[in-house]
């Protein structure tokens, strides 16, 4: 019998952590997530079922520490040359069980990309924030607060909009930044966040890259208010809500790097976001494969397993084709992030565009394929007990977030065709 381990992986450039970490996370998924996930949707507000699984993965198994330097209690992944491929495997395994958990877990790393990655490690900030994540066995959450009420896509569309729509302001007052603004939707908001990375402007309306600021704000800083989580079509394991910053004061040093550099490295955050998104699609497709395999083998049509019907087999083949391609492209992109010496800096427009191209292809294809898998299952396709409908609902947001497909299209066309206005 074929299993998900029969899908191709690039054996020649897997990270040394691939096997051990993959195994640990798969065991965790089998024991802590898969038996409970059918009830996650109803647990969207309380997280009574979801929280213990986070505690095990992030706190007890220590996955929330991996990006930080070893001497600060981390695993040093941020300084390795396999941060992309190792993270890809981790995220894929978590997403196989629950892509909402995968994004919540992945976003714990996300703002840390600004400060914990070579060649731009900000040692002072790593020292400041590592204890939050490394000195505990409780799960701790970080959030990357970009999106604002007037629009998230524009904030990511730096080339054209140039940060001019950012309304969260940061004003230097002596040795402190004073932050005011309203963010919404970040993963790990909705009341759970411990540390925010906040996209701000130091000069509202400006298009000057120097005015883009990425500033860390511990969630318990006076003036920070987190609203309750929103109810969504899926992704119950990820809480999203409003965050208000009212005259929030943080030390000057909490700005990630400073004028110009914040924006430059922020694009690396986008590259990682794209890589993570692709891995979530891949993880979902692997589990859909497993569940679908069981369904089409056990259900019969005219005396034969459903999978033996030639036309059904055609759809099954397409599903595998796309899962293979998502995985190969995903690992390839992760590898490109691992080897800036070969592929150029992770924050280059080229890397962002290539990441966006694969991300939106994978998302579109994944949505279509999982939708077709549901269709093959007749009424069972919509049944929570078969898990696939949950993956379908969860996956939709991976397609919509980070500026949506149109921003991906704009950035891809812009880079490859030298566009100037789109």
């Amino acid at each position: 019998m074929r299993t998900i381990d029969d899908f191709t992986r690039p054996l020649e450039y897997l990270s040394p952590l691939d096997d051990p970490l993959g195994k640990i996370v798969r065991d965790w998924a089998e024991n802590y997530v898969i038996p409970h996930r059918r009830k996650f949707d109803e647990d969207w507000k309380e997280h009574a079922l979801i929280e213990p699984a986070f505690k095990k993965l992030m706190g007890e198994l220590g996955m929330q520490r991996v990006l930080f330097p070893e001497d600060l209690g981390g695993w040093g992944l941020g300084r390795s040359n396999y941060v992309g491929t190792a993270s890809y495997r981790l995220f894929e395994e978590v997403a196989r069980a629950d892509s909402g958990m995968a994004v919540a877990f992945g976003v714990v790393y996300w703002p840390m990309v600004m400060i914990a990655m070579e060649p731009h490690v900000n040692r002072e900030l790593c020292e400041e924030f590592a204890p939050i994540f490394c000195n505990t066995t409780e799960p701790r959450f970080a959030a990357n607060a970009m999106t604002e009420p007037q629009g998230g896509a524009d904030i990511e569309n730096m080339e054209i909009v140039g940060g001019s729509t950012i309304q969260t302001t940061a004003v230097l007052d002596g040795d402190e930044w004073v932050i005011n603004g309203h963010k919404l939707w970040p993963t790990n908001s909705g009341g759970v966040c411990d540390l925010f990375g906040v996209v701000c402007t130091t000069n509202p309306g400006s298009r000057d890259p120097n005015d883009f600021a990425f500033i860390f704000v511990p969630a318990d800083t006076p003036g920070v208010t987190q609203g309750p989580p929103y109810q969504k079509a899926g992704m119950a394991a990820d809480k999203n809500g409003d965050i208000w910053f009212e005259n929030v004061r943080v030390p000057k040093s909490y700005r990630a790097h400073g004028p110009g550099l914040d924006l430059m490295y922020f694009k690396e955050v986008i590259s990682f976001g794209n890589m993570g998104s692709i891995s979530f699609v891949g993880g979902v497709m692997l589990n859909v494969f497993e569940r679908l395999y069981e369904f089409v083998s056990s259900e019969t049509y005219k005396g034969q397993p459903l999978k033996e019907h030639d036309a059904v087999a055609g759809v099954l083949a397409d599903f595998v084709r796309d899962t293979e391609i998502v995985r190969m492209c995903g690992y390839q992109y992760a590898r490109m992030l691992d080897r800036p010496d070969l592929y150029g800096p992770r924050w280059s427009d080229e890397m962002v565009a290539k990441g966006r191209a694969i991300k939106y292809w994978a998302c579109d294809q994944g949505m279509a394929d999982v939708g077709k898998a549901m269709n093959l299952m007749s009424s069972y396709g919509a049944d929570r007990d078969w898990d696939i409908e949950k993956h379908w609902r969860d996956l939709k947001i991976v397609q919509l977030w980070m500026g949506g497909k149109q921003l991906c299209q704009a950035e891809v066309a812009r880079w490859f065709f030298d566009l100037e206005t789109v």
Binding site: N240, A311, A382
Partner: protein, 405 residues
């Protein structure tokens, strides 16, 4: 301009009554559902059940396609196809699940009560349910999960059917049904053309065992559960569709209902997307969403899908409404047309609402904006049609005389 007037529709086929009913149902949808759902979400007891009761019993849609002689409104000729479409579009705009329940009810009623071939005994048996002023008549269709393989079998002996199914999964409403309409393989019938039938069984008949309602993607108004039929007895006349052609006719009417319900969901999608497009600003200050060529192109695509889906649904209504021109509803040609239209419209709804969600990003995914529920509902409804891959075998058989099964 309301969506009803905006998207192309063959008005010349509709009566004044159809148009005015649509107007009334539009108001019902707004006051009973849309104005309350921000607060009540998809609450069955507080929102959906009262709205359904009002629609089915007070407004009386459950009596529409029912002979006057049996306490109905007597709108029981095939030309009711247009009325059904006009009504279902508006009902589904308010709640797609309620529209699916109405589609199931009407599909059964076309078997029992169509003018000229009224099954008097079955009408009599079902009238208390259909003409109730208090309880919605909820019909659970137990259709093949996989194309033409029934989930149940029935045997006739001494004037009574005995229906058996170990664990049937209805298309809808297994938990709530007041009547089951079970498509069965008829045992002991020699001619394969006669070996299929739909047996109507009151929900409280002896031998019916319902499981508990299962969690599913959408259609909160439809509380579905697996059902066991252990030698459930029904009088001979309760086989309300006998033979392949009669069963196909019932399916063709159901497919019409599903198509019209999808169109109604798409109307709602269009309204939500329009509001977004009129007000959202992207690409920096002052750029109205709908004026951006990239997003306008996707919005146009959504409108195209809705328009084409509505025209196709109107055409299918025409085919079923005019047997004198197009032949009986259950002919192979009409059944295949109905199946193609239903699958086409269902897939198109999945695509169009998915695209609309893409336009609205997080807002499209949040329950607060109400778009995502139509996406979940229409996908769930699509699955009631069974796998498209298998339905294609009927199409290939008709158009190419393919023997593929």
């Amino acid at each position: 301009m309301s969506s009803h007037d905006l998207f192309p529709c063959m008005y010349e086929w509709m009566s004044d009554m159809d148009v005015s009913l649509a107007g009334n149902l539009r108001r019902w949808a707004e006051s009973e559902l849309m104005e309350k759902r921000l607060e009540l979400k998809e609450d069955y007891a507080a929102l959906l059940a009262p709205a359904m009761r009002k629609l089915f019993c007070d407004i009386g849609l459950q009596r529409l396609f029912w002979p006057e002689a049996h306490g109905g409104d007597g709108h029981n000729s095939p030309s009711a196809a247009y009325t059904m479409v006009a009504a279902l579009e508006q009902v589904a705009r308010g709640d797609t699940g309620i529209a699916l329940l109405l589609s199931s009810l009407w599909a059964l009623q076309t078997c029992v009560a169509t003018e000229g071939r009224v099954n008097e005994e079955a009408c009599e048996a079902l009238s208390p349910v259909i003409t109730s002023n208090d309880a919605p008549a909820i019909v659970s269709l137990v259709l093949p999960l996989f194309r033409d393989v029934p989930q149940a079998k029935a045997k006739l002996s001494r004037g009574s059917w005995s229906v058996e199914a170990e664990k049937a999964r209805p298309a809808s409403s297994g938990a709530d049904a007041s009547v089951f309409a079970v498509l069965c393989a008829l045992e002991g019938v020699d001619d394969p053309g006669d070996a299929l039938g739909i047996v109507a069984i009151p929900g409280d008949a002896k031998g019916i065992k319902r499981g508990s309602a299962f969690l599913k993607t959408g259609l909160a108004a439809d509380r579905n559960a697996d059902v066991e039929f252990a030698k459930v007895k029904a009088p001979e006349a309760m086989c309300v569709a006998r033979g392949v052609e009669a069963c196909r006719a019932a399916l063709a009417w159901f497919y019409l209902g599903v198509s019209a319900s999808n169109v109604g969901a798409l109307f709602a999608c269009h309204e939500i997307l329009k509001e977004w497009g009129d007000n959202r600003v992207i690409k920096g200050k002052g750029n109205i969403f709908k004026d951006n060529p990239l997003t306008a192109a996707v919005m146009a695509e959504v409108a195209k899908e809705i328009s084409v889906d509505r025209l196709l649904t109107c055409d299918l209504a025409r085919v079923l409404a005019e047997p004198a021109i197009y032949g009986p509803a259950g002919s192979e040609a009409n059944f295949v047309t109905a199946s193609m239209v239903a699958h086409q419209v269902a897939q198109s709804a999945e695509k169009a609402i998915g695209n609309a969600m893409e336009m609205m990003a997080s807002a499209g995914y949040a329950t607060e904006w109400n778009l995502e529920r139509y996406w979940r509902d229409t996908k769930t409804m699509q699955l009631c049609l069974g796998p498209y891959e298998l339905a294609k075998m009927d199409v290939a058989r008709y158009f190419y005389q393919s023997q593929a099964r």
